[in-house]
Symmetry: C2
Subunit: 267 residues, 2 copies
């Protein structure tokens, strides 16, 4: 149960850091919930303080009691805020019907991803008639940039400087956890620049599947996210592939048009 541990030495209100630490500990304990000892071990707070904060968090709906007595789970308030967080600039709401249309028409699983620091987070999933698992199983899933097609599309649409430090920062963990070589990622990024979409990356841990991803650029080349899909390799004939690319490109273009309308001043 290693918790990311917010970098110290920053002098932000300590209660804030403590609270977030408690939430992360709870998250790290997963479905079983976190007990006092988990908190005592993971933080440097005294018992009364921990209880005080836990109580506050419960009252705010950020924690709830686990079915197992004396343990805590993350509260549904977080789910609600999380849903809102995943809908920045209305991106998810606008993308959902388009992903659904793609999924129903083409079978397979379609994803919306966004860029977050060194990671790609999944904002939405729609499954078609032949759904397949991907690296993330659900909304809120997160992978280091470099893993999966969507990552490639996102990286390709970032500015060079940022892309460079991300790849450097992720090099070790990509190799260690996913057996992915950063140079291979770079080649796929070039492919994406040339063709406008990213291919499924071979050599990954999911050999029977393949996929495709497309970046979603806002005004001024700003990277807003990426569409992505996973399919059974056996279902991706040459003709099907062309259809898929056209259909995704069309939905991406449509979404971009929707967004351009909204990003202007407005009320």
């Amino acid at each position: 149960m290693t918790v990311p541990a917010s970098r110290d030495a920053s002098h932000t209100p300590s209660t804030l850091r403590h609270v977030m630490a408690l939430l992360r500990v709870t998250a790290a304990c997963g479905a079983r919930g976190a007990g006092i000892d988990d908190y005592l071990d993971a933080t440097e707070l005294s018992r009364p303080t921990i209880y005080r904060l836990l109580k506050g968090l419960r009252e705010e709906g950020f924690l709830r009691p686990s079915p197992l007595r004396h343990r805590y789970l993350l509260g549904y308030e977080l789910l609600v805020l999380g849903a809102e967080a995943g809908n920045g600039a209305q991106l998810r709401d606008l993308a959902r019907p388009r992903l659904l249309a793609l999924a129903q028409r083409l079978g397979g699983s379609f994803y919306l991803f966004a860029h977050d620091g060194r990671h790609a987070v999944c904002l939405e999933i729609q499954n078609g008639a032949y759904p397949v698992g991907g690296f993330v199983a659900s909304i809120g899933g997160r992978v280091p940039l470099g893993v999966g097609q969507a990552s490639i599309a996102l990286l390709a649409s970032l500015e060079a400087r940022e892309r460079a430090w991300i790849l450097e920062a992720n090099r070790e963990c990509l190799m260690r956890d996913y057996a992915i070589d950063v140079d291979a990622v770079r080649r796929e990024i070039d492919y994406c620049h040339a063709h406008g979409h990213a291919r499924g990356v071979e050599g990954s841990s999911l050999p029977e599947f393949t996929g495709l991803a497309m970046p979603l650029l806002g005004p001024g080349e700003r990277c807003l996210g990426a569409f992505s899909c996973s399919l059974l390799k056996s279902r991706l004939s040459e003709a099907h592939r062309a259809t898929l690319i056209t259909a995704m490109a069309s939905e991406v273009a449509g979404l971009k048009a929707d967004l351009h309308g909204l990003l202007q001043p407005g009320s």
Copy 2:
């Protein structure tokens, strides 16, 4: 932009309350993001304090800058925590494939709901070939208990005392916001007790749709959640209806079996 406003007078660490207030303000401002004035208006904090807290929240990943300058959106860390929060006791992960199977086989939209205080929250959605909107559009959506079939199923599986206070607490808001009479809700709860499932409630604001919901009981009658679905009324023939009920009941039973295995002590 009215924010729930955490009940005061409780002496939990004030920074905690402030932080949560800021998050809620940000959420209330939606896709456009929240500006300083929003925070200044909604809280009673001084400007330097707000900036301090905002900075801390950004560093922790709970806030991020909006594309519109000088505004803040909820950060993706919340999305990740929210995903975890929605998976208490592995409920979502276990339910997802079952919901997907139902959706693909029967068309329509299938939901997993959980009980949270006076509300029902949506934990998962899977859409089939003929998806329809419901009261909640996405994971993390929340409605007062009493609205929709899933609410009925949840209420029916709570103990009488809790059910009573919830209905009383929601009476006014159900009538005002949804034109739903609590007595009608009570009748549907009786129906659910008698038949094991809840019908779509008529008179709601979505007349062409209908649906069905089933409670999900854990060991000791504890209410864990509810399966629910929405369908176009025109597609729900008598025969289809029987199939639907059987299929849902079967998936619910399967899920219950899965859960019973997990709720034992374990490691």
